[in-house]
């Protein structure tokens, strides 16, 4: 499974989201051998780039070509709790085990 954090420039904000996702996976003792997390700019993200896309909500229009059921719109990029909730939803959906705190 691949999770891609996307932002306008692919430089700063998306990497912050990537770090938060990785921190959540680590804290929840998830086996990440089959989970890839990366970041990219909105222009290079295509439906094939990843299984799930984390995107800041003001960029919703810019990612309208991506499948909606695989796009997670974040209200606050640096909010770990919000990211964690979305990561857990994905783990539930994919049947991947994790340690809930």
């Amino acid at each position: 499974m691949k999770i891609l954090a996307v932002c306008q420039s692919g430089l700063g904000s998306s990497f912050m989201v990537q770090m938060n996702i990785q921190a959540v996976l680590k804290a929840e003792n998830v086996d990440t051998s089959d989970i890839q997390v990366d970041h990219s700019d909105v222009g290079s993200a295509t439906a094939d780039s990843a299984d799930y896309f984390f995107v800041e909500s003001t960029l919703a229009d810019a990612v309208s070509s991506l499948p909606k059921d695989r796009v997670i719109l974040l209200k606050t990029l640096i909010d770990k709790k919000e990211t964690k909730q979305h990561v857990n939803d994905i783990l539930d959906k994919e049947g991947i085990e994790y340690t809930a705190e």
Binding site: S13, F15, L59
Partner: protein
């Protein structure tokens, strides 16, 4: 302590006379002054906000202003302007008091700076202290303690 944030790159101002464009320009001024960036980099940031919206409002009262690396960036840079009153980034749904400006020379070399910055910005107590700081010395004290 984030190395790039120091007495030269930190500023505190009232903010009531600023709009988001002048706030970003003022926040970036130390980087222009020390020749980290050209002023055209600031224009790029402002244009991308005009074009794409306030996505750089990364957390409550926090903006991370940046554009793509290009010739107008000479080295990695980070600066911070704290406005004592909020300035709206584009609209009143995006009030901001902490204006960070990030300059990157490529897509990799600044990632450690982002890591340091994230460590700071996910520390709620530190962010609260930054929002309450009304002098550069107070900001330096928060950064040193963090």
């Amino acid at each position: 302590m984030i190395d790039l944030l120091n007495a030269k790159t930190l500023q505190v101002t009232d903010g009531s006379n600023l709009n988001w464009e002048t706030a970003i320009t003022k926040a970036a001024q130390p980087l222009v002054d020390q020749n980290t960036i050209e002023s055209t980099y600031v224009d790029s940031i402002i244009n991308v906000v005009k074009d794409k919206g306030p996505y750089m409002n990364i957390g409550p009262q926090i903006a991370l202003a940046h554009a793509r690396p290009d010739d107008s960036v000479h080295e990695i840079g980070l600066s911070l302007l704290k406005t004592n009153s909020s300035v709206n980034l584009v609209d009143d749904k995006h009030p901001v008091k902490l204006w960070f400006v990030l300059a990157a020379t490529d897509s990799q070399s600044h990632l450690s700076v982002i890591q340091q910055l994230m460590g700071l910005l996910t520390d709620d107590d530190a962010v609260q202290a930054l929002l309450e700081a009304d002098s550069v010395d107070q900001i330096l004290a928060v950064l040193q303690k963090h």
